[in-house]
C-alpha cells in the first residue's frame, strides 16, 4: 500500500502576491548571482593556470561590455545579499557575553565593520 500524503497545490506565482514575498524571493535569488560570479572566478583560476595569454583573454572578457554588465548585475545582488545576510545574523547567532545577550544592533554593526575591513584588505592586496 502506498502512502498518499496530501500536498496542497501552490501556484508558482505565489511570491508575486505580496511585497514581502517578492523581497523574500529577491533575497533568495541573490544566490543565483553569487553562483554565477563564483563560476566566473573558477573560470579565472582555470585561465590563470593555463598561462599568460589565457589569463589576458579572461581579463579582456571581464572588461568587455557584456562582461561588465553581467558583473554589475551580480554586484547589485551580491550587495543585497550582504545587507540581508547581516540583517539576519542576530537571529541566526544570538551572542551572549558574560551572561548578557549582545544587542542585535551591535552584532549587525560588527558585521558591517568586518565588511569594510575585508573590502579594504582586498583592495590593498589587489594593489590599489
Amino acid at each position: 500500500m502506498s502512502r498518499r500524503p496530501y500536498t496542497r497545490k501552490v501556484r508558482r506565482s505565489w511570491w508575486l502576491r505580496h511585497r514581502r514575498y517578492v523581497a523574500y524571493m529577491v533575497r533568495e535569488l541573490t544566490s543565483l548571482f553569487i553562483g554565477i560570479y563564483s563560476a566566473v572566478l573558477v573560470m579565472g583560476l582555470v585561465r590563470l593556470a593555463q598561462g599568460q595569454s589565457a589569463w589576458d583573454s579572461f581579463v579582456m572578457m571581464l572588461s568587455s561590455t557584456p562582461g561588465v554588465l553581467v558583473q554589475l548585475v551580480c554586484l547589485l545582488f551580491a550587495t543585497y545579499h550582504s545587507v540581508t545576510w547581516f540583517a539576519l545574523t542576530p537571529k541566526a547567532i544570538p551572542v551572549m557575553v558574560r551572561g548578557q545577550p549582545v544587542s542585535a544592533k551591535t552584532i549587525i554593526r560588527i558585521h558591517y565593520a568586518a565588511w569594510a575591513a575585508v573590502s579594504l584588505v582586498v583592495l590593498i592586496a589587489a594593489g590599489v
Binding site: 572566478l41 573558477v42 554589475l72 551580491a78 545579499h81 558585521h111 594593489g127
Partner: protein
Amino acid sequence: MARSNKPILWLPFAAGGLVAALITPILIFITGVLVPVGVLHLSHEKVAAFAHNPIGKLILLGVVALPTWHAAHRLRMTAHDLGLSDGVAVKAACYGSAFVLILAAAIALLMI
C-alpha cells in the same frame, strides 16, 4: 536520535553566506569596475604569485568553494519555493554543478 545530514549541508552553507557577504561585492567591484575602467591592472604575474603561495591557494579555494556551495544549497531550496519538487534532478543540478566548479577550482589551483 536519528542522524541527520543537515549540519554537513548547513555549515558550509552558512560559512559560504558569510564569505560571500564579506568578500564577493568587493571582488566584483574590482573585476567588474576598477579593472575595466583601468584603475587597477590584474597582471598574470601578480595573481599567479598569490595563487602560487599555499596560503594564497587556501584563501582562493575558500573564496570560491564556500560561496559556490552556499549558492547551490540556497538555489535548491529556492527551486522548491518556486514549485519544483525537491527531487533527485534539482539536487543533482545544484550540488552537481557546485561539485564540478569546486573540483575545477581545486585542480586549477594545484596546477598553478
